[in-house]
C-alpha cells in the first residue's frame, strides 16, 4: 500500500510530510538508545513482511502488519515504519522521496493508533486477545485505506472514483491482515509474551 510519485499535489505532499515528521519525532523521543537495536530489528522484520506474498482469491497480496508493529512498539512503530518505507524506496524505488511523508502517515499513523487502542485488550481473556489482534490488523488497514483515498481526493477531486476503487480493493486485504495479525498475536502470546510486554 503506497501512493506512487507524481500523483499528489503540493498541499497534500506538504501536509503528509509535516505529519510524518511530527509522528517520527514523537516516536524517536519515546525511544531510548537501549531499545534502538530491537526497534531496528523489528523495522527490518516489517520490511521482510512486505516481501511475503499471501494468496487471496486468484492472486496474492503482500503483508503489511502495521497494526502488529503498533501493538509491539506503540509510538516507536512510527519511526520503525518510516525507516522500512525508506528502505523500500532505496531498494525497489517504491513510492519515492517526495511522497515518503504521505505514505509514512498513511501507514504509520493508523498502525500507532490501533496499537495504542487495542493494547490493553491483550491482557484480557484468550478470546479478547484474539479480537484485539484481529481488530489491530483490520482497523489499521481500514484507516490506512481511508487516508489513502482522502489523499487522492484532496489532491484532485477528479480522483473520486479512483479513490473509491482503492478503498474497495482493500476490503479483502483488511480481512487477511486481521486474520494474520490475530494468529501472530496468539503465537507471540504463547511463545514469547514479553514481546507484547505481557508477562504470563
Amino acid at each position: 500500500m503506497h501512493i506512487s510519485e507524481g500523483i499528489l499535489t503540493a498541499p497534500v505532499l506538504a501536509g503528509g510530510t509535516v505529519l510524518t515528521i511530527v509522528g517520527t519525532a514523537i516516536g524517536l523521543k519515546k525511544l531510548d538508545y537501549d531499545r534502538i537495536m530491537t526497534v531496528s530489528l523489528l523495522s527490518a522484520t516489517f520490511f521482510v513482511a512486505s516481501l511475503i506474498h499471501v494468496p487471496i482469491g486468484p492472486g496474492s497480496v503482500h503483508l503489511l502488519l502495521g497494526g502488529l508493529l503498533g501493538l509491539i512498539l506503540g509510538w516507536g512503530a512510527f519511526p520503525a515504519i518510516v525507516v522500512a518505507l525508506c528502505l523500500q524506496t532505496i531498494f525497489f524505488q517504491y513510492g519515492g522521496m517526495v511522497v515518503l511523508g504521505v505514505n509514512g502517515c498513511i501507514i504509520a499513523g493508523p498502525a500507532v493508533l490501533c496499537g495504542l487502542l487495542f493494547k490493553s485488550m491483550l491482557s484480557g481473556s484468550k478470546k479478547k486477545q484474539m479480537v484485539a489482534g484481529f481488530l489491530a490488523g483490520f482497523c489499521s488497514i481500514f484507516l490506512s485505506a481511508i487516508l489513502m483515498a482522502c489523499a487522492l481526493y484532496f489532491a484532485d477531486s477528479g480522483f473520486l472514483q479512483v479513490a473509491g476503487i482503492v478503498l474497495a480493493s482493500h476490503i479483502p486485504i483488511m480481512l487477511i491482515e486481521g486474520l494474520i495479525t490475530m494468529f501472530v498475536v496468539t503465537f507471540l502470546l504463547k511463545v514469547q509474551p514479553e514481546i507484547l510486554s505481557i508477562n504470563n
Partner: protein, 253 residues
C-alpha cells in the same frame, strides 16, 4: 530478491558523494512531482533518461523496475479516462472517455517515470550504507539514521531466517491456498521470524554494550565532497531550476 546491484559500478554517478546526490535527487524529484505541464514533465523524462543512461544500469534489472512502476501506470490509464470527474468527454465507440482523465494519466506516467529515472541514476548508484551517512550529514536525526543503518544490516539476516523456515514448511508439503490453514501457517512462519529477530536484538545489544556503548552513538568521519562533487551538485540544481522555470511559463498542455 533484495539486492543493490545498481550500486555496483564505477561511472561518474557511482563516484559522487552521496550527500550531493541526495540533494540533487530531492531537487529534481520535487520539481517533477509538482509540475503540472505535460511538456515540462516530458522534458524532465528526457533529461533524467540521459542521466540514467550515463549511470550505465544493468538492462534487465532496469527493465524490471521500469515494469513495476508502469504496471501501476497501466492501472491509471485504465481507470482515469473512464472515471475522471468533470470536464470534456470524448465518445469512443460505446465508451465515454474523459479528456482530462487522459491528460492526467499521461502527466502521471511521465512524472513517475522521470522520478524513477532520477532515482535510479542518483540514489540507486550509492549503497544504502553511504546514503544513510549522507542523510545524517544533511541533518536527519542521528537516531533515525542509525535505525536505518542497523535495520539495513539486519534485513538480510532476517530474510534468510524467514526463507529457511519457509523451506521447512515447503518440505512438509505446505502448498499455499485460500484457506485458514494457509493464513495460520504464514502467521506462524512470520511469528517465529519475529521471535528470532527479537532475541537476536537482545544479543546484538549485548554486543554493543561489550564494545563500550553507553547510549551515545558516535559517527565516524565521512569523506568531504570534492570539486567534482560540487560541480555535479551545481549541474543537478541547474537542471531542476530550469525545469522549475519552464513549469512557471504559461504552457497550454
Amino acid at each position: 530478491m533484495i539486492d543493490e546491484s545498481f550500486s555496483m559500478g564505477s561511472t561518474l554517478f557511482h563516484k559522487r558523494d552521496p550527500k550531493v546526490k541526495l540533494i540533487g535527487a530531492a531537487a529534481i524529484s520535487i520539481v517533477l512531482a509538482l509540475c503540472s505541464s505535460i511538456v515540462v514533465a516530458g522534458i524532465g523524462v528526457i533529461v533524467t533518461a540521459i542521466l540514467l543512461f550515463l549511470s550505465k544500469p544493468a538492462p534487465c534489472l532496469l527493465f524490471k523496475r521500469f515494469l513495476q512502476v508502469n504496471v501501476f501506470n497501466l492501472f491509471i490509464w485504465i481507470t482515469l479516462p473512464l472515471t475522471y470527474g468533470g470536464g470534456e468527454t470524448m465518445q469512443f465507440s460505446f465508451l465515454n472517455l474523459s479528456l482530462d482523465g487522459i491528460r492526467m494519466a499521461a502527466l502521471i506516467s511521465l512524472k513517475s517515470n522521470g522520478i524513477l529515472f532520477c532515482f535510479l541514476a542518483l540514489l540507486a548508484t550509492s549503497s544504502t550504507a553511504n546514503l544513510g551517512h549522507g542523510m545524517e550529514k544533511l541533518g536527519v536525526p542521528r537516531k533515525l539514521t542509525f535505525l536505518l543503518l542497523f535495520s539495513y544490516r539486519q534485513l538480510f539476516v532476517i530474510h534468510r531466517e524467514y526463507q529457511r523456515l519457509q523451506r521447512a514448511a515447503k518440505l512438509r508439503g505446505f502448498t499455499p491456498k485460500n484457506s485458514l490453514h494457509t493464513y495460520r501457517t504464514y502467521s506462524y512462519l512470520f511469528g517465529m521470524t519475529l521471535v528470532r529477530s527479537w532475541n537476536r536484538g537482545e544479543r546484538v545489544h549485548q554486543a554493543m554494550i561489550l564494545r563500550g556503548f553507553t547510549g551515545n552513538l558516535i559517527p565516524l568521519d565521512q569523506p568531504q565532497p570534492g570539486k567534482a562533487d560540487y560541480f555535479f551538485l551545481f549541474t543537478m540544481l541547474f537542471i531542476s531550476l530550469l525545469l522549475a522555470g519552464l513549469s512557471l511559463m504559461p504552457l497550454t498542455l
